[in-house]
Amino acid sequence: MSAVVFAHHAMTPAERLRDAGWIAFVALVLGIPLIGLTTVDAGGRLEVATRFGLLAVFVAVAFAGRLVLRYGLDHARARRLRRVQAGTEADDGRALAQRVVTVLGWFALGAAVALPLVFSGNRYVVDTATTVLIYVMLGWGLNVVVGLAGLLDLGYVAFYAVGAYSYALLSTQYGWGFWQALPVSGALAASFGILLGYPILRLRGDYLAIVTLGFGEIIRIILVNWTEFSNGPNGISSIPRPSFFGLEFSRRPAAGEQSFAAFFGLDYSPMQRLIFLYYVILVLALATHVFVSRLRRLPVGRAWEALREDEIACRAMGMNTTNIKLSAFAIGAMLGGFAGVFFAARQGFISPESFVFTESAIVLAIVVLGGMGSQMGVVLAATLLVLIPEFGRNFAEYRMLLFGAAMVLIMVWKPGGLLSHREPTLRLGAAAKATEGGR
């Protein structure tokens, strides 16, 4: 790493110009067919027209942009080099990165709380934000299994499905409410996690990935084919929505019930329910975050990370790796199950189609792109992965291309994920200070 930095000498102005010239040439070659030539409709038939003025602007922008970019990069590198030589980079850089992440986290939280108030009239924004939060929660759940414990799970959507179907069936068949079904469904998903965990205790890496992939498919195929149980591909509809402490979000509540709008003396609006749902998932996601970050600092969380680092060393330290793996699977599955319950309650309708492999892949991509084990990284990656296809809607068929390209670029630019820095679970200095000052 440092050898590369040292070997890189500063560029002379002539070199910079030549470098920018090359980029401008590439831009020109690309630009001739893309920008330079265009077709115009000349009374029913197409004619080729030229736009050399626009092309010249494009090439000039590429040239200038490259000069500025190159200069900026060199400048940043030189600064980093100076800091490495001063020997303070490691500590300063990390402390700064950590501060930035913390500030960013609080800012994101503030934005998340304020969002529905600012966009209270905009159904699309609130809906999309809710989707982002579902993925954030799923990402945080999978982060336990993949990011912390290092167990590659390609079938995570199975637990999401277990949670969703548990709530759907409990509510439509037995009339359970959202808040009653939530813990039960979570526990059910966790027991499925343990069920999956047992046969694969001895597997690692690729083999583990294949078995979990199979498990995800088994759950989906059961849901499709066991019609008496799950209503097959038709799915389950009219799943009740969560209520606000017994107050329903509907224009005309059922007999004997009171609606949210009437209770607070507001005019009924469908947005009220959407905003409520948004806050429900926000609270669930935040609870997940607090839960997982606290677990990470406990023996069980450190054991997960140790398991990721070296399983044999774990056994040599007297750790029961069976229990550690199962606990990671169970906790991860439970969080996925919670997200599933919310998903079913929000959609009001679920079918096996919502639980295909692509969902697992997206959640895994969120964890990996975010930086394995990084909680803030998951938020960032989930936001990106949900928003990129949304912004791409204007490009219609190109949006998946855009999505794929963005993922490739992120992995090339940051192979460890967006936020790959690992914060230690405890520090000797901090502990010493705490004992001196606090007690």
Binding site: F291, R294, L295, L298, P299, V300, R302, A303, E305, A306, E309, D310, I312, A313, C314, R315, A316, M317, G318, M319, N320, T321, R422, P424, T425, L426, R427, L428, G429, A431, A432, T435
Partner: protein, 271 residues
Amino acid sequence: MTTLLSVRNLTMRFGGLTAIDDLSLEVPAGRITGIIGPNGAGKTTLFNCLTGFYKPTRGSLRLAHPQRGEMHLERLASHKVVRDAQIVRTFQNIRLFPKMTVLENLIIAQHNRLQRASKFSLAGLLGLPVYRAAEAAAIERAATWLTRLGLDSLADHAAGDLPYGIQRRIEIARALCVEPVLLCLDEPAAGLNPRESAELNELLLHLCRERGIAILLIEHDMSVVMNVSDHIGVINYGRKIAEGTPEQVQNDPQVIKAYLGEDDEDGEAAP
């Protein structure tokens, strides 16, 4: 001199290969026992049997635990050998948790104690004083060993980023945090420079004389084995070929033959 561990007629076969062949050995309490032998003699296999990583094909491994009485190690799963019998090992190729800090490595070594204190993580999640006290004690214990091994300034560094010699010391410190009654070191001096291996000698003698920890030591570096061992067993082809004090072993014709080869092989000096 009481016997801490007695290995009786231990045999370990992998398919047709007999890695350990009817090996018997006594490890006294509070002493340093060296195990030497050419590469491939079965020394590490012995460790793996001892610490539950392998199930021996035949034979018994009996530990006279100072508090818990007699234990049959061959019947215990590997994590129980560490947790209940308090036999801890290090590895020939260092096995730290590289991305975690040195302190975290040492805290993980105390996992079982902390996990019990955290009451299935509930007390830990709630931040109850029971757990916080246990964690503070664990940090204290880790800090004590870090200071003793001169690693305290590195406590918050990622273990994998540190130099090799330091990683060796961290591995020993981590093993010590388990509070072993028997510490099994697999080539702890490999890759150390002469000054570092002199420090290692001093540390091993300290652990044994002052802390009363019995040590079982596999080592090729004769300056370590011969200087610190009270007793040495020599293994070749899975069999014990000699046993005794360092002087006895050094002059044993069998040992010389195993290390230097037969006369007619032109004396090619292995390790």
